[in-house]
């Protein structure tokens, strides 16, 4: 176990211990029903967090994803209401739009040499404003194909439902793992996270890679928007306010270092599930108030950031010695 993998193992250990504590108190927590719901309820967050992981690995940040998800929901709902297009065609259109939007932000970040924080902040306003312009109200989605998607599940032993959404999240994570750890693009992302200047000197096409990174994040946000619209069967421009922060929190709890350059996509899945577990525990307990979720997530964030900081310091001390 090196200092690089320690945060990942810490994340997994905390998740398992937390699950054990939950199980000891409520034995029903281990049923496949709870596990199935845990996957389904957090599917949209897991999908978008994969994109966020890649962005953060490169040393950037993408604040626009929550708004993009809300825009996606409204876009799908309005297109299905006003045109006769099949949902799959609408999905393809939407993914093209959000990917282009992400690529545009990536391009701005590179061309203007401005911090991703402020560029994606503008993107956040733009996407939410665009959602508002399509519709101010919540638009329901009534399409037979949506019923099919919503009811598509595999019945696990113990009557737990492994839904299409849950599978989509697991596949996204698997895809993200391959992309980040097994492709040339992934290597470039890690190189940029170590430092854009160093990466450039090593021959990484920094501009192209930046565009690709944010395009990927936009694509995942669009995919997450599709998942969310299936989950809620509606589109609402005010939905998902603050999701970008949940995604960032999941990435950090998942052991990825926020300065970039080190982390694992798999950790993000555990981070998402840990956050979902806290919520499930609060539901099971019944007497705890929902605000404890926020406080516990804040405490977890603090713990992981301090852990990473300590590891980094240990690493530099060892390198100096």
């Amino acid at each position: 176990m090196t200092s690089r993998t320690l945060p990942l193992f810490a994340t997994i250990a905390i998740f398992l211990i937390a699950y054990l504590v939950c199980y000891l108190q409520f034995p029903a927590m281990l049923s496949t029903r709870v596990i199935g719901n845990l996957l389904t309820d957090n599917a949209y967050l897991g999908i978008v967090a994969v994109g966020m992981t890649v962005v953060i690995l490169s040393g950037g940040i993408d604040l626009s994803v929550g708004s993009v998800i809300a825009f996606s929901g409204v876009f799908i709902a309005v297109m299905l209401r006003d045109t006769g297009l099949h949902p799959l065609v609408v999905f393809a259109l939407l993914l093209a739009v959000t990917t282009a939007f992400g690529a545009f932000m990536g391009g701005l970040i590179h061309v203007l040499a401005m911090p991703p924080f402020i560029v994606t902040l503008a993107g956040m306003f733009l996407a939410r404003g665009a959602g508002y312009m399509l519709s101010v109200e919540s638009v329901p989605i009534q399409h037979p194909f949506y019923e099919v998607l919503k009811d598509a599940y595999y019945l696990m032993p113990g009557k737990g439902r492994l839904t299409l959404l849950g599978v989509a999240m697991l596949l996204s994570v698997a895809g993200g793992m391959i992309l980040a750890h097994r492709t040339r693009f992934g290597t470039r992302v890690f190189a940029m996270g170590g430092g854009a200047q160093t990466a450039q000197l090593m021959g990484v096409p920094v501009g192209l890679t930046t565009v690709q990174i944010y395009a990927f994040s936009g694509f995942m946000a669009g995919l997450s928007g599709v998942a969310f619209s299936i989950y809620t069967a509606s589109g609402y421009p005010l939905a998902m306010v603050g999701t970008e922060l949940n995604a960032i929190a999941a990435v950090v709890i998942g052991g990825t270092i926020l300065t970039g350059g080190a982390g694992y996509v798999f950790g993000t899945l555990i981070g998402v599930l840990t956050m979902g577990l806290i919520q499930t525990y609060i539901v099971f307990d019944g007497s705890l108030s929902s605000w404890w979720t926020k406080i516990v997530i804040g405490a977890l964030l603090l713990m992981f950031i301090l852990l990473q900081k300590g590891l980094l310091r240990l690493g530099t001390a060892r390198a100096a010695a």
Partner: protein
């Protein structure tokens, strides 16, 4: 032209242009009447409604000048508002309410500052923790309800007025002037800028950057406390869920519109305050002009994009070169002296 005016000239021009634009759609925009002992009119309304963002922008300017960012101000606002409402209902009186709120704000700033300056965590991450947890803490104080109170003294800070001027306006102007004097009449402002430009170098030059950074974040928390007091007093209740929600982004936007670089260094509090007023003028103007409010966010996004292009380190030298060529003066020497003097 005095240097201060020259610095805020772009913001003043933008504000004037916006006001002229709104007046075209809503002719009574600039009208101010005096009725029932108070000034009434859209402009006064903007000065009052813009108070929370203006207050947050004061602290945010200082934080951004140190090359930091404070994402937690919205949550801090909610905590401080909850504290003041709780103190009033628990019978601590007005002094207690204000005192608790300010203490909570300073404590939040101390927390952020310690994480940034002592533990060396990136500001955006360090303040993210309080942003996530802070609203939970505020809900803990109000026990999830909207904590209402009936106390004229505290409500005065939200809806009262002195000599016809609304109290929130007085508070942000007064705090802005005080902080500006504090940083500009002493060396503090210079030291803050030094940290923003290069923390290591300024530490080596003998600046106690650790203490100063903590102080800057505490100042931001203090400003957030007053924003929380104003917001809570205005509705006579502490709403832990919605008080200050997403105002941190507006405050950052105000600072950026004020022409302050997110990369730290030189700052102007007056320009940030004008930035806050520009945002509020857009908000109010869109409503008055009869446009649907959904345009608001798109206009804000466009505004940010324009400012980004103007501030971009890649493009700014090119603009300067074009301007120089157009002026047709061999201004190289002149420009460098002016840049050095700025």
């Amino acid at each position: 032209m005095p240097r201060v005016i020259q610095r805020v000239l772009p913001q003043l021009l933008t504000l004037a242009a916006l006001m002229a634009l709104v007046s075209v759609f809503f002719p009574d925009f600039l009208e101010i009447t005096y009725s029932d002992g108070r000034l009434v009119g859209p402009v006064i309304d903007i000065l009052k409604r813009g108070a929370p963002v203006a207050l947050l922008a004061i602290g945010m300017t200082l934080v951004i000048a140190t090359r930091g960012i404070d994402l937690s101000v919205g949550a801090t606002m909610a905590i401080c508002g909850a504290c003041s409402a709780w103190a009033i209902s628990a019978g601590y009186g007005l002094a207690g309410a204000l005192g608790f709120a300010m203490l909570a704000g300073l404590a939040a700033g101390l927390w952020n500052g310690a994480l940034v300056a002592v533990f060396g965590i990136q500001p955006i991450v360090a303040t993210l923790i309080l942003m996530t947890a802070g609203r939970g803490v505020a809900q803990l104080i109000t026990e999830g309800r909207i904590l209402t109170f009936n106390h004229e003294g505290l409500a005065f800070f939200g809806s009262g007025d002195i000599l016809g001027v609304p109290m929130p306006t007085l508070i942000w102007v007064l705090l802005g002037v005080l902080v500006a004097l504090l940083v500009r009449r002493t060396a503090l402002g210079l030291l803050i800028e030094a940290i923003g430009i290069n923390r290591r170098a300024s530490t080596l030059a003998g600046i106690n950057s650790r203490v100063l950074l903590i102080a800057v974040y505490m100042a931001s928390g203090f400003c957030a406390a007053w924003a929380g007091i104003v917001a809570t007093a205005d509705i006579r209740g502490a709403d832990a869920n919605n008080s200050g929600l997403w105002l941190e982004l507006d405050a950052i936007l105000a600072v950026v519109i004020g022409g302050n670089s997110l990369l730290g260094g030189r700052f102007s509090i007056a320009a940030s305050l004008l930035g806050a007023m520009i945002i509020q003028t857009i908000d109010t103007g869109i409503l008055l002009a009869g446009f649907p409010s959904e345009f608001n966010l798109v206009i804000k996004a466009a505004l940010v994009l324009v400012i980004l292009v103007l501030q971009s380190p890649n493009l700014a030298p090119r603009f300067a070169r074009i301007a120089r060529r157009r002026r047709g003066t061999p201004a190289a020497g002149k420009l460098t002296t002016r840049e050095a003097g700025e």
